[in-house]
Each structure stands twice: as C-alpha cells, then as structure tokens.
Amino acid sequence: MKTHMIHIILGIVFVFTSTLISDEFTNNDLKVWKTQYESVVKEGRKVFTDTTLGTNTVTCNECHPNASNTHPETYPKFQKQLGKVVTIAEMINWCIANPLEGKRMAVDDARMTAIISYITEERKGVKLSPGKH
C-alpha cells in the first residue's frame, strides 16, 4: 500500500514537473524567431532589387513587382522548359543565369534563402499547390 502511495505521489510529481519543464515557447522565443525571419525577408527584398545580383544590372523586381508571378506555392513542380521536377531555388537560379546573365548560386547560399523568404512572404495566405502550372 505504501509502495502504491509512493508511486502515486511520484506520478503526481512527474506530471507536475513535466508540465513545468515541457517544451513551451516563451514570448522571448517567439520574438527572436519572428525577428530573425523578418530580417531575412527584408534582406530578401534587398537581394531582389540588387543590381549586382546578375551581371547586367537587371533586378528581379523589374519583371516581378512585389514578387508577383513567382508563385512559390506551386513548387516543386515539373518545369517543362527544364524537363524535370524542380524546386523554386532552381527556378530562381534559372532567372539569375538568364534574364540577369549572372552566376547560379548554391541553394544554401544566404542570398538564396533570403530571396525565397521574401517571395514566399509576398504570397502568404495563398494555398499550397505543389505541382500546379
């Protein structure tokens, strides 16, 4: 009976402490993550309007004001003109290499992350439709 009681008490203690140390986000966490994300979005807008991203001074927003017609929600998809399924990063690299006559960047390049963050933010709220044309 005594052992049983101890088990119950331990159980209560466990439940109680586990609530205390559970994986909850503090307001500070949320603030930090939001600030981090927003600063990268902001950086993305800078890259998106940067005349030195390519070699011919053309910028992304010349053809894509407010990142419109970049439709990141449709990727990955079969990009007919490339003949395979690609992510948005590969399509961005195509744009950098062709209209901007620049050098493709690594997909984990900080500027690539920034561009993707910015154009996705501009499409916030649009339903995800991978594979859509």
């Binding site: 070699t55 010349e62 419109s68 062709n98």
Partner: protein, 355 residues
C-alpha cells in the same frame, strides 16, 4: 470591303503569319462619315533600354525594340505614323535615350514621341526634350485630333526631396517601390488641355495618348494618374474619345462614359496583372480579358507592339503576341465599348500549349 470583313480576314491571316502586319489592308468603311478616311498607325512602347556600362546595354530589352522596329518597317501599307509611348530608357540616362533614338531612327515612318517616367526623373526630361522636343502637344491627322500628354508628373515636394538625381530616378523606376509617388498631369497642363479642346468640334474624333493610364487602377504600382477624373471630365463632352496608354506592360481595355481606354504592351517584358498580388486590394477594370501568363523561357513572350486602325473615329487595337494568339480589341458599336473580337467576357482564354 466592310469593316467587319476586314477584321475577320485580317484576324484569320494574322494568326497564321510570322509577320502578320504585312497583309494589313487599310480600307475606308462603307458607313464612314463623309470626308473621313481610315488609316493605321503603329504604337511602340516601354522599351526600357538599360545601360550596363559604356556602350553595353541589356541585350534582351534591345532585341524587343529592334524587333518592333523591323516589323513596323515590314508593314504594307505603312502606318501613317508611329507613336512611341514612353520609357525609352530605364534610368533616364542620356546614353539610354540616345541609344533608343538610334534604334528608332531605322523606322521608315514618321515618329511621334511621348515621355515616360523612366525618361524623366533623372534630369527632369532635359535630355529627352533636347532629342525629341515638346513633352506635351497636339496635332491633327486625317480629321482626327491627337493629344499627347505628359501624365507622369508628380508633386514638387517629392521631386526635390532627394539627395541625388540617381536616387530619385531609381526610386521612381522601381514599380513596387513604396517610396515612389503617384503620377499626375498637373494644373498647368490641364489648363493647356482645356484651351486645346476649346477649339475642337464635339463631333471630332479624339485620340489621347498618355504614358500612365488616365484612370485609377492600382496605386501600389502606379497604374494610376491622380487627376484622372479631371481629365476624363474634360473629355466626356466629345462624341468619340479614345485614350491609349503605355506603362502597364499588359493588355487592358474598358469604357468609362464616353471614353474608350486601351493599353499597349511593352517591347521589353510583361507585367503580371495587379490582381495576382495577394497582399493588396486592387481594382483592375472588370471588362478586360487578361493576357495569358508569359513563358519566361521565351524572352519575347507577352511583349510586343500594336497597330491601330482608326475607323470612323474609333480605334481598333491589334496586338502582336509572339508566343500567344494575336488579339484584336475593337470598339463594338452595339455595346458601345471596346471588346475582344474573339473572346467574350466570361470566356476563358484557351489553355496555353507552351507552358
């Protein structure tokens, strides 16, 4: 040959020809008013020639303008004149404007020039005026009164708040730059317009050219002219008014009261419709059947130029779309508004085969 037949046959032939403009026939309509004459003119706009360094320019934009010039020169019969709709350069540099003047000098037809914001906000149009003359003017041609406006002005305070001309120009050049400023025709030019119109009979057909739309579509991208209503008010008393504008890089058309509005395409690149931007409200005219989305892999897709058939004081716009079916937007005498001759509102554009 009646007008309807002209549109039908030219439309059918347009679809199948590589250089469709060579077969355009300009005819005097059976029901045209006495003394009036059918004629065509061409409209080339928004080439955005962009200097990289020295004599190096962005190839893609150069090719768009060169193609338009070459095709215009192949028109038979030739257009009576060619209107250039503004934004010849990208950043208003003398080198860009001179480069554009050189490419345009190959045209075989007389030119009329209009200013765009990209030609203006570096030196406030000084070099452009030196090359091409007046920033706004009117002229008469075969019984039609033409007016060229400078609709891309803005308030003086904005103009003078910048540290450098380059900073001012690059801010206005960014279509989606939140630090830009709305366009306007302005009080002094409105007074000039009022005076210009006072000598014109109310039954004279009027064609107004403006770089920005003389109507309010979407302020965020400056598809907008602040004093549009005041201009419209001046134009409403006339029987036949047509406003043709550039700037938007896409096909738009609608009717406001007595005024038919038509936009023209860019030779450089197409812009998405404002409705595709999901973070802001916009008010694209409802009666426009939109262009298909462009294929970025074909760099001339959804760019082009147009020839305009003036028929009895109404304009029909024929759009040369390299990678889509060419389109004709004509004034429908029955519904009293411009309409696509093939697609009716509510129809869906045919699916694209190439995308």
């Amino acid at each position: 040959m009646k007008r309807r037949d002209f549109i039908k046959s030219s439309g059918a032939m347009l679809a199948g020809a590589i250089l469709p403009v060579s077969i355009v026939e300009v005819v005097v309509a059976d029901d045209a008013p006495k003394g009036s004459e059918n004629f065509t003119f061409a409209f080339i706009s928004d080439s955005h020639l962009q200097q990289i360094k020295g004599t190096k320019f962005v190839r893609n934009w150069d090719m768009g303008l060169k193609k338009a010039v070459a095709e215009c020169n192949l028109m038979n019969p030739k257009p009576d004149f060619i209107l250039y709709g503004g934004d010849l350069g990208q950043l208003g540099k003398a080198a860009e404007i001179d480069h554009g003047a050189e490419i345009l000098s190959a045209l075989h037809s007389p030119m009329r020039m209009m200013l765009g914001e990209h030609d203006y906000y570096y030196d406030l149009g000084e070099h452009w005026s030196k090359r091409f003359g007046d920033k706004y003017y009117s002229f008469d041609h075969k019984g039609v009164h033409f007016i060229v406006l400078n609709s891309i002005l803005t308030d003086e305070e904005w103009i003078h708040k910048w540290k450098t001309p380059e900073e001012r120009m690059s801010t206005m050049a960014g279509l989606d730059d939140p630090n830009g400023s709305p366009f306007m025709v302005g009080a002094s030019q409105r007074a000039w317009l009022k005076n210009d119109l006072s000598n014109i009979a109310k039954d004279t057909a009027i064609v107004v050219f403006s770089h920005s739309p003389l109507q309010k579509i979407y302020k965020g991208w400056n598809f907008w002219t602040d004093d549009a209503e005041l201009i419209q008010e001046m134009l409403q008393p006339f029987d036949k008014v047509n406003v043709i504008y550039g700037h938007v890089h896409q096909i738009q058309y609608n009717q406001i009261g007595n005024i038919s509005f038509n936009s023209v395409m860019s030779t450089a690149w197409p812009w998405p419709y404002p409705s595709t931007y999901k973070q802001a409200k916009q008010y694209l005219p409802k009666m426009t059947i939109e262009m298909n989305r462009a294929d970025p892999f074909f760099e001339r897709d959804a760019t082009g130029w147009q020839f305009i058939d003036i028929h009895s004081g109404r304009v029909d716009l024929n759009y040369q779309l390299p990678n889509n079916k060419n389109r004709t937007i004509a004034f429908n005498e029955k519904s009293r508004k411009p309409e696509d001759t093939k697609y009716k509102l509510g129809d869906k554009m045919p699916p694209q085969k190439h995308y």
